[in-house]
């Protein structure tokens, strides 16, 4: 540990000067000399966005932990909380951790006095035991603008000496986001308070949570969209391959595809996700979360698409096949140039529905730690106790599913309403060459 120390007594200065010569070489010996050394000084993350960010103007807490040397008799600890940061003293928690593994907790009796930014803790009995002194300050609100928050600490020993805890790490605080600021402004508005005094409205439509959860849940929205945006296009050829296999003349190929489709369609997607996320790695196949999520969704959707395609292919008039074959086209050519183009037009409404299902089913990935829509909403619900983030998540689902449902209905009508297509306009040269027939 690299330390520089200021001492009041001349003796200490001399001692320090003497040591400064071998400053880098021997770091351990002098640090043992102080009665208290910092162990940690952290702020509790309080962002809904990610679990490690500490934001300004949002409730947090400071955990201060310092080692206490044996028999030094620390009698008073004063924490200087950075300017602009507010804190409470009611919930203050002061504990002495002792034992080899520091796992024995000893509550310490104390008096507390707050004077401006100074929080003075006077112990009923000076601490003689060796251990870690752990202080948790609750109800902490860091300044809105954020920045590096430097907590300072001084302590008194039984001898009367007053010393400083050195090298306390600063707590990095992020400035409050625009939506957080809006939320806080909202919470002060009387109409919001009136609104929230209604239990139902507060639980489901709390405006302050609405504005803060929106950008957070938006992250999950992008994740969900990303999953389907990759999985769905990949499922299209997979489903097609399966459908063609199921229509194959060869029993083995047909059997493989049929087994796959029945297995996937016959078991819950939820179970498939669990097997893929926890089972595959045990089998030595290690795929990162996102691609794995995509693969599972794709493989699941492929099975459903297979049946959509198969039904589509079977619904095409047998005469189409005969006409193509009678012209000398092979089975493959007939499939590629005649059957599939028609099939795709028929199945587009069903594929759209499948897309909607797939999009909604991304929510199941929440169970295995993929941070998608529901998972983001969940985190905020857990920290606020309001259902509002779920409502926000619902909105994010609906902005995709409602328009698509409408499109699906429209497409279904078109497919059902015959295959009439708008003409691209006749070419005049063709018309000019018209030959009259009797």
């Amino acid at each position: 540990m690299r330390t520089t120390r200021r001492r009041i007594t001349a003796a200490f200065i001399a001692f320090a000067l003497c040591l400064s010569g071998i400053f880098g070489a021997s770091a351990l010996a002098p640090s043992q000399a102080s009665a208290m050394d910092i162990v940690r000084c952290t702020g509790r993350p309080n962002s809904d966005d990610d679990k490690t960010t500490i934001m300004g103007a949002t409730q947090s807490r400071i955990t201060f932990e310092a080692s206490v040397a044996k028999d030094e008799g620390v009698s008073e600890l004063t924490l200087h909380i950075p300017d602009g940061t507010t804190f409470g003293t009611d919930d203050l928690q002061v504990t002495l951790l002792t034992g080899d593994d520091l796992m024995t907790r000893t509550e310490v009796a104390y008096d507390v006095a707050a004077d401006g930014q100074d929080l003075a803790i006077t112990f009923d009995e000076p601490i003689m035991q060796e251990g870690h002194l752990n202080v948790i300050v609750y109800d902490v609100f860091f300044p809105q603008a954020g920045g590096d928050m430097q907590v300072e600490a001084t302590y008194k020993l039984a001898s009367g000496a007053e010393e400083t805890v050195e090298d306390i790490p600063a707590i990095s605080v992020t400035g409050i986001s625009a939506t957080e600021a809006l939320s806080q402004w909202l919470s002060e508005q009387s109409w919001v308070q009136a609104w929230n005094s209604n239990r139902f409205l507060r639980l489901f439509f709390d405006p302050t949570i609405l504005v803060t959860s929106f950008p957070v849940v938006l992250n999950g929205f992008f994740m969900s969209i990303a999953v389907v945006a990759v999985a769905f296009p990949l499922a299209i050829p997979l489903g097609l391959a399966l459908a063609l296999m199921r229509l194959s003349k060869r029993a083995v190929i047909r059997g493989i595809a049929t087994t796959y489709v029945n297995l996937v369609r016959g078991t819950p997607l939820f179970l498939q996700i669990y097997i893929a996320f926890f089972g595959l790695p045990l089998a030595g196949i290690d795929i990162p979360n996102f691609p794995l999520g995509v693969v599972v969704m794709c493989m699941n959707s492929g099975a459903y698409m297979c049946e959509i395609y198969r039904a589509g292919i079977l619904s095409i008039n047998k005469g189409q096949n005969e006409a193509a074959r009678s012209l000398g086209m092979t089975r493959a050519q007939t499939m590629i140039y005649v059957i599939l183009p028609q099939m795709f037009r028929i199945v587009i409404p069903n594929l759209t529905s499948e897309f909607i299902v797939l999009y909604k089913d991304t929510s199941l990935l929440a169970a295995v730690g993929v941070m998608e829509l529901v998972m983001y909403a969940r985190t905020i619900v857990a920290s606020t106790g309001s259902i509002t983030p779920y409502i926000v998540a619902a909105v994010f689902y609906l902005i995709i599913t409602l328009p698509l449902s409408k499109v699906t209905r429209h497409l279904e009508e078109r497919v059902r309403g015959g295959r009439k297509r708008k003409r691209a306009g006749s070419r005049s040269d063709d018309a000019a060459k018209e030959v009259a027939h009797a």
Partner: protein, 278 residues
């Protein structure tokens, strides 16, 4: 199991809990005792209604041995035994309803699904903003476990090694372990699972490097299904487990506190702890 002792009653907790109960029941509207109805699905109904039918419903997330777990469909563990003991004290039938951990506090706030949350819930000031807590019945710490064959993260270097951007730590969504990991290992990637068992499974599957959560549970998991994992880091956070009760239901809070006091006095609580932590 680690021995913990409490010398001084946590004055702060008691004050705030009381203040919360007294202060917030006022805005909560109707008190529980006046409401009727039995549909659990009823929206935003008052809590406590099921007690009118002679039973108390606890919300629990049974993925947290030795506190709550499902064994052959039976709710077992310290919390579950405690819940039954409390119900007996209160002369009520005890019922459990399975809710994911991060949904319990919201469920108690919303009411209708359960009268109280009993699921190894640590008292935190943030949660106290939302619900009332009973007197604590157990004190626990945080622990971090990794696969036994992990040479990157060991007991000796855990503090630094865990706080690396190359490390993924699995936690339970909404748990104090989630907060603890985020606060003390800010450089690591924190992955939340609704179900705590899945966090361990993630480590076993190599999807995460470490799992962080309450010590007693980590120990229990490692003693059971995940014996190839080992604890590399512990911190005496001294979290107090308590029962979460709607702030609209001070009658139930008082009754539960009374029951806990009785169980503490007559030694039942110690017996249950010994039985489940043995």
């Amino acid at each position: 199991m680690l021995k913990t002792k409490k010398l001084v009653p946590v004055a702060g907790f008691a004050t705030v809990a009381l203040a919360a109960v007294l202060g917030l029941t006022a805005c909560g509207g109707d008190t529980a005792s006046t409401t009727e109805g039995s549909e659990p699905s009823g929206e935003a109904t008052q809590t406590g209604m099921t007690m009118d039918e002679g039973k108390i419903v606890f919300a629990t997330s049974p993925d947290y041995p030795p506190f709550e777990n499902l064994e052959d469909g039976e709710y077992v563990g310290l919390d579950m035994d405690l819940g039954r003991a409390i119900a007996e004290e209160l002369g009520l039938e005890c019922e459990y309803t399975n809710i994911d951990f991060d949904g319990i506090v919201p469920a108690i706030v919303a009411g209708g699904q359960a009268d109280a949350g009993l699921s190894g819930i640590s008292i935190t000031p943030e949660r106290e903003d939302q619900v009332s807590f009973s007197d604590p019945y157990y004190v626990d710490n945080q622990a971090v476990a990794v696969q036994g064959d992990n040479t990157e993260i060991t007991e000796d270097n855990a503090t630094e090694a865990l706080n690396s951007d190359a490390v993924t730590i699995a936690v339970q969504s909404g748990s104090t372990g989630e907060d603890f990991a985020g606060e003390n290992f800010p450089n690591a990637e924190i992955v939340s699972f609704p179900n705590f068992t899945d966090a361990f499974a993630a480590v076993q599957a190599g999807k995460a490097d470490a799992v962080c959560g309450n010590s007693a549970v980590v120990q229990q998991m490692l003693a059971g299904a995940y014996s190839d994992q080992q604890v590399v880091y512990t911190s005496a956070t001294g979290e107090e487990y308590a029962i979460a009760i709607s702030q609209d239901n001070p009658e139930l809070l008082d009754a539960v506190n009374e029951a806990i006091a009785t169980l503490q006095e007559d030694g039942t609580l110690d017996e249950l702890i010994a039985k489940n932590m043995g």
